[in-house]
């Protein structure tokens, strides 16, 4: 598994996600947003968390139009994997890789805490290392993670099984109380139609070492490396 982690001006989780990928056995190239091409042999493009362009205009809007995003869209169109985490999810939506948009949290507060997620399906390249129906414990840290889209798109996401993760309580119940930002349907992450692009607000790369309180994030990176090995 060869991963290209893109650094935009204001990205700040590129180092952490690279560490998580290497821990899972991937090789990692760091790629600058102004580059035209991805390294030859790139299997996975990672749009990391942070505050690209200081969240100017809309979160992810300017990064979504960066030069490297043309190559990223071509990579995704050819079935290549793309993972957008937090600001990377916002960038993926703004770049047209995923539908909908992430807007200000319903209660206007920046939320930074541990959060349980329900893994909606485990037959994807991003989640195969998790168990069916598993609830995972990861971190969230965002001010604009409130996922919205039009009714038609929501019906398609739900009907086609494109919801990847939902916010839930410790017992796996998806409730309004467990929803930290007002997202439609408690959506924490979604797939593209081909399930080769995943965007999610939570940070799985934060929980990859028991030393910092948990390892539930490892499964996502292990799944990706396993998907490449199986291919």
């Amino acid at each position: 598994m060869r991963a290209a982690v893109i650094t935009f001006p204001g990205s700040n989780r590129d180092g952490d996600v690279a560490k998580a990928l290497r821990q899972a056995g991937a090789s990692v190239d760091h790629v600058w947003h102004g580059d035209d091409a991805l390294p030859a042999g790139t299997d996975l493009v990672v749009l990391p968390g942070g505050f690209s362009y200081g969240d100017y205009l809309r979160c992810g809007a300017i990064a979504g139009r960066a030069r490297i995003m043309d190559a990223t869209r071509a990579h995704a169109a050819g079935g290549g994997y793309v993972l957008g985490i937090c600001n990377g999810f916002q960038i993926a939506c703004e770049a047209g890789l995923l539908p909908g948009i992430l807007v200000r949290n319903a209660d206007l507060k920046f939320v930074c805490k541990r959060q349980h997620l329900k893994v909606e399906r485990t037959d994807t390249a991003f989640t195969s290392a998790y168990a069916d129906g598993q609830t995972i414990d990861v971190c969230i840290a965002h001010g604009e993670g409130n996922y919205i889209c039009d009714d038609e798109t929501l019906a398609r996401l739900e009907g086609d099984g494109l919801v990847a993760f939902r916010y839930c309580d410790a017992d796996g119940n998806v409730t309004a109380a467990a929803n930290p930002n007002g997202s439609l349907g408690g959506i924490a992450g979604i797939y593209s139609a081909g399930r080769n692009v995943l965007g999610l607000m939570p940070h799985p790369e934060n929980l990859i070492d028991g030393l910092v309180g948990g390892t539930d994030g490892r499964g996502l990176f292990a799944s990706l490396v396993g998907a490449k090995a199986a291919a």
């Binding site: 205009l57 809309r58 809007a61 300017i62 139009r65 703004e94 539908p99 909908g100 948009i101 807007v103 200000r104 949290n105 319903a106 209660d107 206007l108 919205i148 889209c149 039009d150 007002g182």
Partner: protein, 80 residues
């Protein structure tokens, strides 16, 4: 030429920032405030004097970057 692009949230899209501003205005005792919706204004200087070309360029600017049409509407006004 000078132009002004105004980007506003579509009807029905929740605007928690507008709501907070609305609450602050009311708490300041400013009378008659029904509701507040927050938007964005871009003042743009354009080269040339071709009105139609400017209109087309600004339309493209809105569609490609200035507005996200999932949640926003935009209006273009071109001055002298």
């Amino acid at each position: 030429m000078k132009a002004r692009v105004t980007v506003t949230l579509k009807t029905g899209v929740l605007d928690p920032q507008g709501k907070a501003i609305e609450g602050a205005l009311k708490s300041l005792g400013i009378d008659g405030v029904g509701s507040v919706r927050q938007g964005k204004v871009f003042d743009i200087e354009l080269d040339g004097s071709d009105h139609a070309a400017a209109e087309a360029a600004l339309q493209a600017a809105c569609e490609k970057l200035l507005a996200n049409t999932v949640i926003e509407n935009y209006r273009v006004e071109i001055g002298a």
